[in-house]
């Protein structure tokens, strides 16, 4: 099937690893074919609404079956993965060229195809052990992609952090499945689903926490996010786009799968926890993004923010379903899933745009950009569309999923009792502030990269990126607009996906779609229509332009001159920097962000200290997770290891006696 294409692509590019061009072409073509197949397949599954399940192979172990089950939810995530994968592969075809001669292209093609294939398997497998194998393949191939640019020491370090965090996460996931196996006696998802009531309540709670930590680590929720802003920037840009766009969504997929399908109905507090995590992640994610001046780290922090927004939808869906308000739960789930695919689209678009800029500028530091819109006009245009979509500006896709999320939170405020009402109120507040802060951050990012005068010499040597890269960005930008204008259609399909879960099989969603793509909440709570909005705004814009240009202003001319400079010639240093832009908002939130500033002045004459030679200002943001969570944790573990070192005497007799004791103890338990 499709996965075989990836396998073929992977090993093919490995075979050609001596010939850069061949390896790249071979790997890219198979990735493109595979994802194209994925798009067509998942699209038809979604349209026809049929479920597929089959066995890839049977092993001699009864508990390990290579079984796949593709229901609508899987098909939806397959569609997201293959859409993004398709454009990223197209982009990669051009982008990889600058690695020619430096690194082994064959290995890159191999790993990239393995990553794509394992992503496909992760969202379709229906056996826990098979799932874990696919999950590990995904983690390991992405680890090697993160450290692909291995000459930079930082990348290797980021990779190690990623590997450690991902194994901690996997450990929790394994614990989850083992607990499920202990009580239900099966690793098959449908068997766990039908028998999960056998699990004692306390262990269900433990399982929930395990799943939350395990899948949350992959999704990048705060405080398990620390690997994300390190690892995503390190990978090649089209891989960053894959990781940020779809790989972290596999965590979301499993949360939906487990909490709203396999383990459903779940207790109320699970939803509350998810909602609170969503609030914290969205607000802190965007605040940390504001502090960044490394373009890819900035985008990585925005992934955390958007995962938070998605979790606001998923969390309220869990709460509603626990309270048996099924149609509201379906509305919130639709909001969450819609934002999932939207985020996949605009985030990969932004990562690809950033990749094009980095490819030309050879630095990720935004302070050295500026004025790139003149040298890379098309990239700038696509990046602008991505920025507007992620800032939830109408009529792009981000607006409609945030609108749905807002509406589901409003429904919670309207319909729930006192304490839950306040929880939803706080969630709506955090979403409102997140929207405003994201807008600020993307004014900073877009203006810092593309507008004003160049801040370094390097900018003047840049040129527009090659056709395949522009094509990929253009395709994604088109999707961002398409998913906005046809938000009604998309919502309808996603509602269908939600109703396919057995929890919502007989539920009508609180959101319905009327004529001309109108989204309607309840009967008359709210409605909005993207094409009508687009039409009115467009016609106002065009008529204003027409009236000003051709009626009022026929004879006026435009002359060009210098920017007002108060009499001193403007230098690049006089422009505002991205750090300066965000400085005031960082100071407003100084209690959360803990910014620090250090000044070092070197003097010509250290004794007299009159004439400074150079001044350095170092500004940074305190890493509270490292100081207050990971460092203490490390200390505890270190301490515990030191204590337990006592039993390691180094004498072989002692070890043998340990084995004897262990034997006795286990015999005692068995007999």
């Amino acid at each position: 099937m499709i996965v075989e294409l990836f396998v073929l692509g992977a090993f093919g590019s490995l075979v050609f690893h001596k010939r850069d061009v061949w390896a790249n072409t071979w790997g890219s073509i198979f990735a493109l074919l595979g994802t194209l197949g994925g798009i067509i397949f998942s699209f038809f599954t979604l349209i026809q609404g049929q479920m597929l399940s089959f066995l890839l192979g049977q092993t001699s172990f009864t508990f390990l079956q290579f079984s796949l089950h593709i229901d609508m939810l899987s098909a939806f995530f397959l569609l997201a993965i293959s859409l993004i994968g398709f454009f990223c592969s197209l982009y990669g075809f051009g982008y990889v060229k600058h690695y020619y001669g430096k690194y082994d292209i064959g290995v890159l093609g191999f790993l990239y195809n393995i990553l794509l294939g394992s992503l496909f398997l992760v969202v379709t497998s229906s056996n826990a052990l098979f799932f874990l194998i696919a999950w590990e393949m995904m983690s390991i191939s992405s680890y090697f992609l993160v450290v692909y640019d291995r000459h930079d020491e930082k990348n290797v370090k980021a990779g190690s952090l990623y590997l450690i965090m991902t194994y901690v996460g996997t450990a929790f996931i394994i614990a989850f499945f083992l607990l499920a196996y202990k009580y239900t006696g099966s690793f098959q998802f449908d068997a766990i689903k039908s028998q999960h009531t056998l699990i004692p309540e306390i262990f269900q709670s433990v399982m929930f926490l395990c799943a939350l930590v395990g899948f949350g680590t992959k999704a990048g929720i705060i405080p398990f996010h620390i690997w994300l802003p390190a690892a995503h920037p390190a990978a090649p840009s089209h891989v960053s786009a894959m990781m940020s766009g779809v790989m972290i969504k596999t965590g979301i997929y499993m949360m939906v799968r487990l909490f709203l399908d396999v383990l459903a109905p779940v207790p109320l507090w699970w939803g509350e926890v998810v909602l609170i995590i969503g609030m914290v992640s969205s607000l802190l994610g965007v605040l940390y993004a504001l502090t960044e001046h490394d373009i890819k780290r900035l985008l990585a922090y925005h992934s955390i923010e958007n995962i938070g927004i998605i979790l606001l939808g998923i969390g309220s869906s869990i709460i509603f379903s626990a309270l048996d308000m099924k149609s509201l739960a379906l509305l919130a789930l639709v909001a969450g899933l819609f934002h999932t695919i939207n985020h996949a689209i605009f985030k990969s678009l932004l990562f690809l745009g950033a990749g094009s800029v980095i490819d030309q500028m050879h630095t990720k530091n935004m302070e050295e950009y500026g004025g790139l819109i003149r040298y890379m006009p098309q990239t700038a245009f696509f990046f602008l569309i991505g920025s507007m979509a992620i800032s939830a500006l109408p009529p792009f896709n981000g607006f409609f999923s945030e609108w749905l999320t807002f509406q589901s939170l409003f429904q919670g405020i309207q319909n729930l009792s006192f304490s839950l009402e306040w929880l939803f109120l706080l969630a709506a507040g955090s979403l409102a502030f997140t929207g405003g802060l994201a807008l600020t951050c993307f004014v900073k990012a877009f203006a810092g990269i593309f507008l004003a005068r160049p801040r370094s010499e390097e900018v003047t040597h840049t040129k527009e990126s090659v056709l395949s890269m522009r094509g990929a960005m253009g395709g994604l930008a088109f999707l961002a607009i398409f998913f906005g204008i046809f938000s009604g259609l998309i919502t309808e399909i996603i509602t269908f996906v939600g109703q396919n879960l057995s929890l919502f099989s007989v539920t009508d969603a609180s959101v319905s779609v009327g004529h001309s793509q109108t989204l309607r909440i309840q009967e008359s709570f709210a409605h909005v229509s993207a094409p009508i909005m687009f039409f009115f705004f467009g016609s106002i814009f065009v008529s204003v332009l027409f009236i000003i240009r051709f009626i009022i202003n026929r004879r006026q001319t435009i002359s060009f001159g210098e920017t007002w400079d108060c009499g001193t010639p403007l230098k690049p240093r006089m422009e505002i920097t991205t750090t300066g832009f965000a400085r005031s908002i960082i100071l407003v939130f100084k209690n959360v962000l803990k910014p620090s500033i250090q000044q070092t002045v070197k003097y010509h004459d250290a004794e007299s200290r009159y004439i400074p030679k150079s001044r350095t200002v170092t500004m940074s943001v305190g890493n509270i997770y490292l100081t207050y969570f990971y460092r203490p944790l490390q200390k505890v573990i270190d301490e515990a290891s030191l204590r337990s070192k006592i039993i390691q005497g180094g004498n072989i007799n002692i070890y043998i006696s340990y084995i004897l004791i262990a034997l006795f103890v286990s015999l005692f338990f068995v007999l």
């Binding site: 602008l384 939830a392 500006l393 709570f525 909005v528 920017t563 403007l570």
Partner: protein
């Protein structure tokens, strides 16, 4: 008649907005013992600017050139989607509270980009300050509209506006609290005291003026006009959402002319209030402004909390 009302709904905000600016300036001048310019001076200014040649910075890109059109269109679009003189809704599919908030954000986005685009020292800091304030104002803005939306059971602005005053006294406290919260946002979003001084070009404090410093000619006219429109939009939201006195769906000529007259009276009241505030208090220090905006957010949160307990 319907066609006439349709175009009235679209054009009313841009038509009356320069008048409001003129009235505020006139009242402020009188309070300072000056004669002041005529109230129709803003119209003359716009006319003059529209017929001037333009000078644009060499560093500007197409973002700078297109931004005034986007910003102005946003205010016209929002202006036609809010209840002005009647609850009769011509645009039921776009007059949603969140659509209004985020469309205004679209205008702010382009305004801030144009400030950064020319690469001057002033524009960048204007954008930075503007975005800081508007990011923090967003929570209060959405929540003040949400208070009314929850009372009315809909987020459509025309449907919200069709409620009786204070719901016949039932929800007096939440509505007043939400209005106070909204008023703070109004001052911030329309660049008025104590957030910004619309009459200053002092580089240390200006916000809105700093962003449009490089504009001239028709683009400056559009920017100025857009900011006047935004002022009127917030005035109209202030009274027609929170205190929809005399607002009915009836479309007869009599009620219509009465409602239009009422609209002008309500606008005049807001103009007087703004002029009094600007004449009696000083601008706040920039880092004290977030306190005010957070206060607005909290007031609104309390208002929403009160709805269900009443």
């Amino acid at each position: 008649m319907t066609a006439f009302l349709f175009f009235l709904q679209i054009l009313l905000v841009p038509v009356v907005s320069p008048l409001c600016i003129g009235v505020i300036k006139k009242i402020k001048a009188r309070l300072q013992n000056r004669q002041g310019a005529s109230v129709i001076q803003p119209y003359r200014d716009l006319f003059k600017l529209f017929h001037k040649d333009e000078r644009v910075s060499k560093d500007a890109s197409w973002i700078f050139l297109i931004a005034p059109f986007v910003v102005f269109s946003v205010t016209v679009f929002v202006g036609m989607n809010i209840p002005l003189f009647s609850t009769e809704n011509f645009f039921p599919m776009t007059s949603d509270a969140l659509v209004i908030v985020y469309t205004l954000a679209l205008g702010t986005f382009f305004l801030a980009l144009s400030g950064m685009d020319i690469g001057g020292a002033f524009g960048g800091f204007g954008s930075s300050r503007e975005m800081t304030l508007s990011a923090l104002a967003e929570g209060g803005f959405i929540f003040s509209l949400l208070t009314m939306a929850l009372l009315a059971g809909t987020t459509n602005l025309f449907d919200i506006a069709s409620h009786p005053l204070f719901y016949n006294g039932e929800y007096f406290i939440p509505i007043v609290l939400a209005f106070v919260g909204f008023f703070i946002v109004l001052l911030a979003e329309t660049a008025r005291f104590p957030f910004d001084n619309p009459a200053t070009h002092l580089e240390l404090t200006m916000i809105h003026e700093a962003m449009i410093l490089e504009y001239s000619g028709k683009r400056l006219a559009l920017m100025e006009w857009a900011s006047a429109n935004k002022l009127v939009i917030f005035f109209v939201l202030g009274f027609n959402i929170f205190f929809p006195l005399g607002l009915v769906g009836d479309m007869s000529v009599g009620t219509l002319s009465m409602n239009l007259g009422l609209l002008l009276v309500k606008l005049l009241i807001f103009c007087i209030v703004i002029a009094l505030i600007e004449s009696s208090m000083a601008k706040f220090r920039f880092f004290r402004l977030p306190d005010l905006l957070v206060a607005s957010f909290i007031l609104n949160a309390v208002a929403i909390g009160l709805i269900h307990s009443l």
